[in-house]
Subunit: 561 residues, 2 copies
């Protein structure tokens, strides 16, 4: 197994008849999935998603793939293929279309509808190409065949990309639920047919490659939800992902069976379920839905609320209920059901919500104490089926952190893919398929692009580093007014500090030290603002460090009059 | 079940013959355990621990219980009883002893030795009272009986406190390992004897009250560790808590069996294992330990390294190895064993370490993929035994978040404790045992006290709020120099920003707006610095909000010359 080395340089020119694949996201992380295929000077993009920030990216709303690699070649893009409608696969499309509006976006009916609803907020009207499983369609030199896959959102697709360089099968996200509620199975027959034809490279979802065995059927969640609704004496509040249409369907079915009305809470929940209902992916019995504003007055034992916030998002309805900062007042006897996974990184926030709700007397049912969630990704035992059916000449695990990619690579090796035909690449690593053999040939820029408020890319790693220091230690700013003619200090030093946790009175101790240092510095009569800044930073910095063993940001501000 | 309400006021005077219990930590949180008992004007403290900060407490090193409730009554304290040597039970003792040095500290041999090693760093020589299981000893009106309990550190104790108000059994932290490697069982016989005598109030460890069933024996970890060491072809690196003497013993035993030398890495690991060895709690074969500086040169298949950092602490050796920022260069074929629990809140940090180590080719064995950890706390099935054996008249779950306290309360109710004899209290809630009945009677101050660097309590919630804003959004400071006689602006406005993620050139847009607003403001000729500040804050604030949809901290600095 080869893996990238820091010393990877720019890739060589792509040989004629060869296919190049560069993931700009999704390799070495869970999220912002995006792969760029290149053949004969033309490009095909598969997925274009966002990554959600962690504590190390304070204040950031979203993280995008870096489009730098394709920015000068936007006109070479034949199409963007979207495997399904999750944010980590479609969320960055608006930002790509901002750079070139008429890139054709290709996807299934539901995927395109969810994308379109999102693009409306960005005031973009996309060029859509609707496809479905068992269809085949060429985009420039890329002859694409679409195959059904089962996932935690309906209407997901895998794509086989044929070029003269060979067949590449990209699974997208998938699971192998053998009893799916909508009957739509992952098309293993199609995978087998491709395997017989000869898959030159398999790119397969690694998210659950570390999880042994098999994922339970989504169908098994139904009875658990039903039991929760049936045995609840007061309100039932269900939190789920706003895209999990199958899960919401099960909640709606249970509510109907037990004579409860349903209110949908949260903008994305209302929007997505509207889309799903209109397209026939969600069945809502007439009269079942009650407006969320009216639901407060309804008897508690006659309602089910479905909301977002299952990941502990502080502004979502659920967190606000836990803090008693929401019109719905959770009380003794209410039941809250977190019918979702716990996305890594959100553990603390979710724990806080569970404790808050418990404090007010609610019973909280979650994946830690009941079978209320199944994963949307195939586990190790299932991934082996895909490897055995497609019998790929080369294998490249995608969609996962390092641990997942390595685990998936091991599974491939167990099924007989030779070690040196397994390519573990990170974001930005260039993989060329030449003469039937996939190899790493270089690397391109593929860093994080941060969305903060309305701006994209303005917030840099430098700014984040400043934020981390400010967030941990606060700052001390020292203002000094200097006469630009004489070099004399005419006002200040004045100290302003925030977040430093130092009693402002204590600054009286350091001010004389600063004054003294400035006097010594001014002895030669030359005004050197850089030098004044250095003296201030050093004097105040050592004082704080010696007195408090802390390192706040020290900001000398020298104003000339 | 009663539970506290926000409207709780100060408690009434304690009736004669009654016992008062106030937890200053550990109720509603996992950590900083501390309970204050009061009888006849005298006080007894049980445990005095720290809580480790989360992301919401940026820059904070430790969180202490608030001693405010006892600060005026330090001389009334008869003793501090320490149930065992973990940080969340002894970590705040140095800070309490700073307020009164000669408070007797009571504990088992190992507990006192670990405390003493810690106090040396604070240059405090404690007044020690060593006790052991099956001993009985009075501290003022508090007649204390000590009972052995098994936990993830040796020599842990429960304590039964007898006063004329009745018998209170405080379990401390415990588990029920029935095959402990040191043969020291939780003294259920003693619990039963107390039950026959009549336990008026049981205070019992709730940490695992939500976990069904039973905790596996520590003994079962041994073979797994052995197998990991036996099958590793290169280096074995084991990360564990620096206090987990039994676990370290198992690693040392495995290393010895397979002919490997051992190096201990990390200050607390070296210190605690030194204490444990000197007192006979850790058996180290002669010649087995190699100095950590020498271990680099040793053949990889002949060494085991034992280090801290199992929680992903960024400065610990393990994180630095994952980042290739440590003399030990983790390489293909090395095995890293995280032989510890994953403390909630540390998931992201630990995931980062696992991915980093995996990236360099190490096999990482952790509780997610092998049986390499068992909990130190009794699970629900075991807690029922304690409730059934002690048959308490009143029950108060301790050591846990709300979810754990409620779950434990339910277990108590199932064993027959009447609902209205179960008291769920939070930190600061006053529980009085009067005439054999425990009731909530009020609440006292019990907030967080932050340790940051060398200072205790200087960092307030205000400062933390500032840090959170600065960390999320950065700041923009606007400096203006004003002539104090004329009120005219003589220099500035000048803008200095950090962490805002705004291109400095863009500030040219807002500067004229600030100047204009200042001119309009100065039209009446009166110098009002507060008013200038308001104008600046409003002008710059709206500009940022409208242009970027962000809310950095805006800091107007007006200097008069």
């Amino acid at each position: 197994m080869s893996h990238p080395h820091p010393e990877l340089g720019p890739p060589p020119p792509l040989p004629e008849g060869a296919l190049r694949i560069v993931a700009l996201g999704g390799l070495g992380e869970i999220g912002r999935n995006m792969a760029v295929f290149e053949f004969d000077g033309r490009l095909l993009v598969v997925d274009c998603g966002v990554l959600f920030p962690e504590a190390e990216q304070p204040g950031i709303d979203l993280i995008l793939p870096d489009f730098d690699y394709i920015r000068d070649r936007l006109d070479d893009i034949e199409a963007v293929i979207l495997t399904h409608g999750h944010e980590d696969h479609i969320g960055a499309v608006p930002y790509l279309l901002r750079e070139r509006r008429n890139i054709p976006v290709v996807g299934s009916k539901l995927t395109l509808a969810l994308l379109e609803a999102k693009l409306t907020e960005h005031r973009i009207q996309p060029v859509k190409v609707e496809v479905a499983e068992e269809q085949r369609r060429a985009f420039g030199p890329f002859d694409c065949e679409f195959l059904a896959v089962n996932h935690s959102i309906p209407d997901a697709l895998a794509v086989a990309v044929r070029t003269p360089a060979g067949i590449v099968l990209h699974t997208g996200d998938f699971r192998m639920d053998q009893l799916p509620s909508d009957g739509r199975l992952t098309d293993l027959g199609g995978f087998a047919r491709l395997g017989r034809e000869g898959v030159d490279l398999l790119m397969s979802d690694s998210t659950n490659a570390e999880v042994p065995g098999f994922v339970t059927s989504e169908r098994e969640i139904g009875p658990v939800i039903d039991e929760v609704v049936r045995t609840s004496s007061k309100r039932v509040i269900v939190a789920s992902f706003a895209s999990h249409i199958h899960r919401v369907q099960q909640v709606i079915d249970a509510a109907e069976r037990h004579g409860r009305k349903v209110a949908l809470i949260g903008r994305s929940m209302v929007r997505n379920m509207g889309v799903a209902r209109d397209l026939g992916y969600l069945r809502i019995p007439p009269g079942l839905i009650v407006d969320s504003k009216e639901i407060e007055g309804w008897p508690p034992d006659e309602v089910v609320l479905i909301c977002t916030g299952s990941q502990g998002e502080p502004m979502a309805a659920l967190s606000r209920m836990a803090n008693r900062d929401h019109p719905i007042r959770v009380a003794e006897g209410d039941t809250v059901l977190l019918a979702s996974s716990l996305v890594p990184g959100n553990e603390t926030a979710v724990t806080r919500v569970i404790n808050g709700l418990t404090r007010w007397g609610a019973r909280v049912v979650h994946k830690g104490n009941a079978k209320v969630h199944v994963s949307g990704h195939a586990a190790a035992g299932e991934l082996l089926y895909v490897l055995n059916l497609t019998r790929p000449s080369n294998f490249m695990p995608v969609h996962g952190e390092w641990r997942h990619l390595r685990a998936h690579a091991k599974l491939a090796a167990l099924t007989g893919v030779p070690d040196d035909h397994i390519v573990i690449a990170e974001d930005g690593v260039v993989v060329d398929l030449v003469d039937g053999r996939a190899r790493i040939t270089g690397a391109v820029q593929a860093g994080y692009v941060y969305v903060d408020g309305t701006s994209v890319g303005d917030v840099t790693e430098f700014a984040l580093k400043d934020r981390r220091i400010l967030g941990e230690e606060g700052f001390i700013s020292v203002v000094i007014v200097v006469d630009s003619n004489t070099g004399k200090v005419t006002a200040g030093p004045e100290i302003h500090a925030r977040g430093s946790g130092i009693d402002p009175d204590r600054f009286d101790e350091v001010l004389p030290q600063v004054e003294k240092a400035l006097q010594e510095n001014a002895a030669d009569g030359v005004v050197d603002i850089q030098q004044i800044r250095r003296v201030v930073r050093r004097t105040v910095g050592s004082w704080v460090s010696n007195t408090y063993r802390r390192r706040p940001m020290i900001i000398p501000v020298v104003v000339e009059v």
